[in-house]
Structure formats: C-alpha cells, structure tokens
C-alpha cells in the first residue's frame, strides 16, 4: 500500500440540491501509485463526487486539496490544470469530429496558430497504440461502435498530463479482451505513479485492481478499507447495507409450455452485422437469452426484429401475422416492444416527468373516444400508481423529471412503458447496464414476472452471469452467425462464456440436449 503523501484529498464535502443531499461529509484521499475503488449503488453519490473532483460542480461545503494545498475549481479546465483527468461514463465526444480532433479538443496541437493535423494524427496513433487499439485517428466518431467510442474516451483522458485519473465505469461497453487490455493499462499507469480512482459495478475488476476502497451509501462514506483479503460478498454487503439474497437459478424450470406455438418467429433473418441467416422462435412465457461478444451481431439482431435497423432478408412473425419491420411503429403495432441498451439515447425522455415517460407508449384509443384526444390526468395517475407498486419504482411523486432518477429506477419506468403497451414480445438489450447490484435483482424478478404473465422475452446481454440468471434457453451468436443454442440445463455462466468465444457446447453434450436446441432453433 502506498504511503506517500496524498495527492488528492476530498475533505468533508457536502453537496445539497434543493430537497436532496447528494453527498454528506464525504472524505476521500488518493495517493500516488494507488488504485482506489469508489463503490456504491446508483444514487449513492458517486457521480456527484466525480463531478466535484472534475470541476463540473461546486461543493456546498468542504474542501478539495491537491498536493496538500486547497483548491477551488470553477470549471473542468481548472481540474485538468490541477492534473486531474476524468474518463466519464457518458462519452464526451463530438460525433461529427474525428478521433484525433476529439482527443485533442480543447488543447489542440498548433503550429503558428493553425492546427497541425499531421502532428495530432501521429500523437493520436501513438496513444491508441499504447492501448493496443486498432482505430484510425481520421475516422469520425459517429462511424465508430459504442465500444470503440469508449476506448477513444479513455485515450483522450490519457492524452492529458495527469497525476490523478478518475475512471467512471470505463468498461461498461467493452468486451472481455478489451477489458483485459484496459485493466493491464491501468495497472501500468499505477506502477508509473498515477493515482487512480476506479468506479465500477463490475466487482471482479475492482477486486483485481484496487488496493483500497471507499464505499458510499446514501451520500455518506460508510467504509474506507484496504482491499487485502476482501471478497465480493463483503463489498456487496457494504454497498447494500445488507447481505444479498443468493441469486440462484430456479432449477431451470421452464415457465412455458413446449406445446405452445411460438409467438415470435424469426426466419432466415439477415441484417447489417448478421451475415448468416438466423431462425428461431420464442414461445409465450419463454425467456430466450442472446449471448455474444461485441461485434457478434447481438444488438443488431434485436434492433432488426424491432424495425430499428433494416432487415436485409427473412421474416419476423408474431402469431401468424408477418411483422412490418420497416419501422419500430410496425413492430409495436404487432405487439413487439424493445428496451434498448442506451437508455439515454433510445429510451427516456429526460425533459418529461416520470409519469409522462411511463404512459407515452400506451396504445391509442378509438377515434371517437375523447380520451384519445384529451389526456385524463387522474386516470394516468391511477395507472401509474399501480405500476409503481408492481415495479417498485422509487420516486416520491410522479411529476419528478425522469432524469433525476437513478439508472435502475429509470429502467423500471421503461419496463412500465412496456407493460402498458400490452406487448406480446419484449426485446431487452442490456437490461441492467449502469444499474446497481440491488436493482439488478429486482429487474431480474420483473423479467420473470412478465414472462409468467405470458410475454415472450428475448434478453441480449454482454454479462454471462446475467444470462445464466435470467434466461431459459440461450442463443449464442458469434461473428454475425448463429453458433449454438444452449438448452436450459446447459445455460451456465461458463458455457455462455465459452460459447461466446466460439466453442460449440451442444456438440460435446448429450444427444438429448442437442435435440432440444434444434427444437428451439426451429
């Protein structure tokens, strides 16, 4: 453990908003050569802490010290000048500009007042090489995948001179290989003497990297511990304030009847990212997992079924009716609903209230029903009240803006939207991204409850543990093709990881299992 004097000290910082105290008397120190984990459920105050350190928000009271001297940041530039570099969870990249331009935005490399493109490109390439990335510095950001954008965001933070590096969920969009590369990079930075504050919901990463941890709960520091000998359950307990109920797989019991006809039928579907035609069916009450690495076509498959991405060939049917996949409206009309991976961009309407966000996709009423034209406030509130109970949405009043809610609660509101559309097929892409441990379990329960009500559910996720926890069968995609379908008894974390990496599981398994998989595939 590092014994050098602290480079960054957060001293008894309090941050209050009208009606809420986001941080209370929070204290944190960071020494050179130290990786400290900042842990806590969503809404515990981690983001506020990061914003204050990054100079984006001023604390209500308390002090920041850098190298022992008090500092006041009135903007992100001050924080950067003090040697603090932040990798934010939400990308701060300009989509219309190139990778190199984004990396050097705000501190361009100039020669005689003009930007030296060659120099910037070369420097950018060096930095990208350091991380082992194969991204061309001349590409525009909006032509990159989410994973590549995240890597560019990290590269950008590394391009500045820093002593302190704050990383907020840096691996959220990365695949396993990229995560490993990144973790190795972080360790290298630590060995060079950087002080690193690492924020992540992925506890294995935290356990590998961090030597110390600060745990926040409800805006207060509840633990400041050394990570030596600490195990995952202890961390979860500290974050939640209680032990987590074991998330066991309920004996692979199918909640659906194998004699039922599939409600969602996908035949020979091809789309950008899926080069081999894919066919499968989902029965009412069945939860079908979709596994695959980034680039396997996992997200694209769901988008295509939902009509958010062009279907090149093949058909999607709900019941016996062919779905119009030219737009999401067609899919919704056929009873398909999707909750996408990027809640902020595809899901929530941040300027509207929780209530409005919930009821926005409610099915249209008849032409002559006055309620189609004038929204009945009281009725909406009643619907919302019922949903709030059922979904366990934590919000004091329905008029609160949805942007003020934690990620887990926002996701629950979106589930409410799905429930109100009375969809027969629900597509979920990364349903728990950015959601904390406690809310995750609740969302799994919600998914099962919806399935028990007879909804056919497709869950796509990059977390093998999640798929193992929630899905009945699991479809595995590999490099744009359907590699395998794991029957319920083979849906385990290890199998999913192995299959995602290109190993066929069902071949080596018993014949019975293989035939089950065929059955599902057809």
């Amino acid at each position: 453990m590092s014994t050098k004097p602290p480079i960054l000290e957060v001293r008894q910082i309090t941050k209050s908003y009208p009606g809420v105290t986001a941080l209370k008397d929070a204290t944190l120190t960071l020494r050179p050569g130290e990786i400290r984990a900042l842990l806590g459920e969503n809404g515990a105050g981690k983001s506020t802490m990061i914003k204050i350190i990054g100079g984006l928000q001023a604390p209500t009271s308390g002090e920041l010290h850098v190298n022992g001297a008090p500092v006041v940041f009135s903007g992100s530039l001050d924080s950067q000048n003090a040697g603090i570099s932040v990798v934010s969870q939400e990308f701060r990249l300009v989509p219309q500009m190139t990778v190199a331009e984004n990396i050097f935005l705000g501190h361009e490399l100039t020669r005689g007042g003009l930007i030296s493109r060659r120099e910037q490109t070369e420097r950018a390439r060096e930095l990208l090489d350091q991380l082992g990335l194969d991204i061309s510095p001349g590409r525009r950001i909006d032509s990159l995948t989410v994973a590549d954008q995240q890597l560019v965001e990290i590269t950008r933070a590394l391009s500045r001179d820093f002593q302190v590096l704050i990383m907020d969920e840096p691996t959220a969009a990365l695949n396993e290989a990229e995560v490993q590369k990144l973790l190795a990079m972080v360790e290298k930075l630590r060995d060079r003497g950087a002080a690193i504050l690492y924020v992540s919901h992925r506890l294995p990463e935290v356990l590998r990297l961090a030597s110390t941890a600060t745990v926040l709960r409800d805006g207060q520091v509840v633990a400041d511990i050394s990570m030596e000998g600490v195990q995952e359950p202890e961390l979860v307990e500290l974050m939640l304030g209680k032990a987590l109920e074991a998330e066991s797989r309920d004996s692979h019991e199918r909640g659906w009847n194998p004699d039922d006809a599939a409600v969602l039928e996908v035949t020979d579907l091809r789309t950008a990212g899926i080069s081999q035609p894919i066919s499968f069916g989902v029965r009412p009450g069945q939860i079908l997992g979709v596994a695959g690495l980034v680039g396997s076509g996992r997200a694209e498959l769901l988008k295509a079924i939902f009509g958010a991405q062009r279907v090149q060939s093949g058909a999607v049917r709900v019941g016996d009716a062919r779905v119009d996949t030219s737009s999401p409206a067609g899919a919704i009309g056929s009873g398909i609903f999707m909750l996408g991976e990027d809640r902020k961009a595809e899901g929530i309407l941040p300027h509207l209230s929780v209530l409005e966000n919930t009821v926005i996709s409610e099915p249209q009423r008849g032409l002559f029903d006055p309620r189609r034209w004038v929204i009945g406030r009281r009725e909406e509130r009643k619907t919302f009240g019922e949903l709030k109970e059922g979904l366990r949405i934590r919000v004091d009043r329905p008029e609160r803006l949805i942007g003020a809610l934690s990620g887990g609660n926002q996701q629950k509101v979106l589930f409410g939207r799905a429930v109100l559309t009375q969809c027969r097929v629900l597509l979920l892409n990364e349903p728990t991204r950015g959601v904390d441990v406690g809310a995750k379990a609740e969302i799994y329960q919600l998914i099962r409850k919806l399935a028990a009500d007879g909804v056919a559910i497709v869950v796509s996720s990059s977390e093998a543990a999640e798929l193992a926890a929630v899905s009945d069968d699991c479809l595995v995609l590999y490099a744009g093709a359907h590699l395998d379908t794991l029957p319920p008894e083979l849906v385990t974390e290890d199998n999913i990881v192995a299959a995602s990496l290109g190993q066929r599981i069902t071949h080596s398994a018993s014949l019975g299992a293989a035939s089950t998989s065929e059955e599902v595939a057809n």
Binding site: G54, L56, G75, S76, L77, Q80, S88, F91, R92, L93, V94, P95, Q96, M97, E101, L105, G106, H107, E108, T110, G113, L114, I115, R117, R139, R140, D142, S143, T145, T271, A272, G273, I274, S275, G295, G297, A299, E300, K303, Q309, R310, Y478, A479, G480, A481, L483, L501, G502, Q503, R504
Partner: protein, 341 residues
C-alpha cells in the same frame, strides 16, 4: 481446436468486411455532403444555357458572379453559426443597415470611412446577437428574429423611409471592377473563402465552433469557453453581412432601408444546399460558394426568361426543402450502413 481457429478467422474476415462497409458508407455520406450541391448546380447550368438567351454572355456571367459573391460572403458567416448549431435571421437587416449607413458615410466622409463604418455596424449587431445568445441564453432563432426587426427598423428610420444616392462614382468600382475578366467581388469571395475555410477547419477556434455545435456539453467539459466562441461567431456573421451590404451599395449606387428583405431564407438555403447540416457540428465553406453561384444563376435565368421575380421566392423555398431532404437522406444512408459495423 480447429473449429475455433477457423471461427476466429471468420470473425476477423467479417470484422474487416464490416469495417470496409462502414468506410464505404462513410465515404458515400461524405461525398453527398461535399459534392451533393453539384447535382442541382449542373441541372440549373444546363437548363440556363439551353433555355435562357444570353446566359453565357460576358455581361450576364459577370452579373451572376457579383451577385453570387455578395450571397456567398454572407453564407460563409451563416455556415459558421450553423456549424455552431445556431442561426442568424438578421443578416438581411444587417445588410440593409450597413448599406444605408455606409452610403451616407461615403457621401459625408469619403470612401474609407464609409467602409469602416459599414463593417462596424455589422459587427455591432452581431455582437448584440452574440451577447443575447451566449450570456442571456436567448435561443439564436428568437434573438436574431428580434435584432432582425430592430436593424430593419433602424435602417428605415436612418433613411427616413427614403433612399440614399452614393455621390462618389468611384465607390461603384468595387463592384464593377474586374481583374483578368473576373469581378472584384468574386475574387474577394474566393479570398474570404480561403480564410474562412482555414479558420473553420484548421484553427482551434474553428474546431471549437464545431465542438460546441456538435456536443455543447462535451465542448464545455473540454475546457472550451462556449460563450466566447458563440459571441465571436455571431460577430463574424455580422461583419460578413455588413461587408455584403457595402458591396451591394457599390453595385447599386442607390440604397434604401428595404434592401435584403428575405435574404435570410436565401442564405440558409445556400448554406444547407452547400452541404452544411442544420444539426451543427460541421460546415462546408466551399459548398456555400457553389450554392451561392447556383442561386445567382437561378435568379439570372428567371430574369432572362422574363419570369416575374416572385417566382424566385418559390424557387428558393423549393431548393431549401430539397437541400434539407438531401441532408436527411445523407444521414440515413450513413446510419443504415453503419449500424452494427
């Protein structure tokens, strides 16, 4: 083991194929953005040559180039503020105010003071726009709608509703003079194009404009002074409109407070036709010059064909909608192809 290797191989191949498809899509979209303006340009040029008598006469070409130059200079400024995700509706009024003030100043103080005063007028209105938008947080649309009325009113009040005749005939040389057969204003438009192109693409300021227009939060968190970038951009478009007012004064020799009515529509159409997306974050300066020539050609063709000038408004409106659809189409191509690559 072998299956895994071949699977890896396949994965690598497919990733490469996807990356190639993405690159192709990006190039197609970029080409539309950069050269889309040439489609209507060629159509109008061919139609003009076939249908309009004297379309290729030296007088007409000179006339088209001068008109195009005046439009282009304003359009450069508009391109800059659209890249900033802003809009300036006051350009027509600035042009008129600058023109009447300049004409009066030329008469009373001489040519050089007239030019200086005209440019200052443009800069001042631009400064007011910029401060309203950057510091008082008035949306650009509303702020410039307000100054559009104010500047127009000021121009009418200044001339008392009448017109001003420029007495110094030398002042007309700025618009009528030629070098190697090319009118001065067009040479000026090309010179300013070079400057504006470099400013937008190669200076930190220009990149900051695009960053603010592309993602304001990302820009401010990168340490960019968003307010200052905004004010400077609106001053630049004000100066551009002021300069266009001077050239118009020189061309006409006789100005009044109603000059440049409806100019904002034409200028926005030019910028968008030229390949600048209304979403902000990028700007196409050369495209603006080409689109300005296109609009000037349309005006002169209609003129030569004795079609009433009212139809010009119609044509400009149609072109604006065409350009906006093209902009959407361009983005859709890119999105469809890139999805999942």
């Amino acid at each position: 083991m072998t299956t895994q290797i071949s699977a890896d191989q396949r994965s690598a191949d497919q990733r490469a194929a996807l990356a190639q498809a993405a690159d192709r899509a990006a190039r197609t979209a970029a080409a539309l953005e950069r050269f889309g303006v040439f489609i209507p340009f060629v159509i109008v040029a061919v139609l003009g040559i076939i249908l309009a008598p004297n379309f290729l006469s030296a007088a007409n070409i000179g006339n088209v180039l001068v008109n195009a130059a005046i439009l282009a200079i304003v359009a450069y400024g508009m391109t800059l503020v659209i890249a900033l995700r802003g809009l300036d509706l006051s350009v027509g009024s600035i042009q008129a105010l600058s023109a009447v003030v300049c004409a009066t100043a030329v008469n009373q103080m001489g040519i050089l003071p007239g030019i200086v005063v005209g440019l200052i007028v443009g800069a001042l209105v631009g400064l007011v726009n910029g401060v309203l938008i950057a510091y008082l947080k008035v949306p650009a649309f509303v702020a410039t709608l307000g100054t559009m009325g104010i500047a127009r009113g000021a121009a009418l009040v200044f001339t008392d509703g009448g017109s001003v005749l420029v007495e110094n005939k030398d002042f007309g040389l700025f618009a009528s003079g030629k070098l190697l057969g090319i009118p001065y204003p067009f040479l000026l438009a090309i010179a300013i194009l070079a400057v504006m192109y470099i400013v937008l693409e190669r200076t930190p300021f220009g990149r900051h404009v695009c960053a603010v227009g592309g993602r304001p939060d990302a820009a401010s968190e990168s340490g960019i002074n968003v307010s200052r970038v905004t004010v400077v951009s609106f001053v630049i478009v004000g100066v551009c409109a002021g300069l266009a007012g001077l050239l118009l004064t020189s061309q006409l020799g006789f100005v009044d407070g109603t000059l440049g009515t409806g100019l904002e529509l034409q200028i926005i159409a030019i910028a968008v036709l030229g390949g600048t997306s209304m979403l902000g974050g990028s700007g196409n300066m050369p495209g603006s010059l080409v689109a300005a020539v296109l609009l000037a050609m349309i005006a002169s063709s209609l003129n030569l064909l004795n079609i009433p000038s009212f139809y010009q408004y119609l044509a400009v409106g149609v072109l604006l909608l065409f350009a906006l659809s093209l902009d959407t189409l361009r983005r859709r191509i890119q999105r469809n192809r890139l999805m999942g690559a």
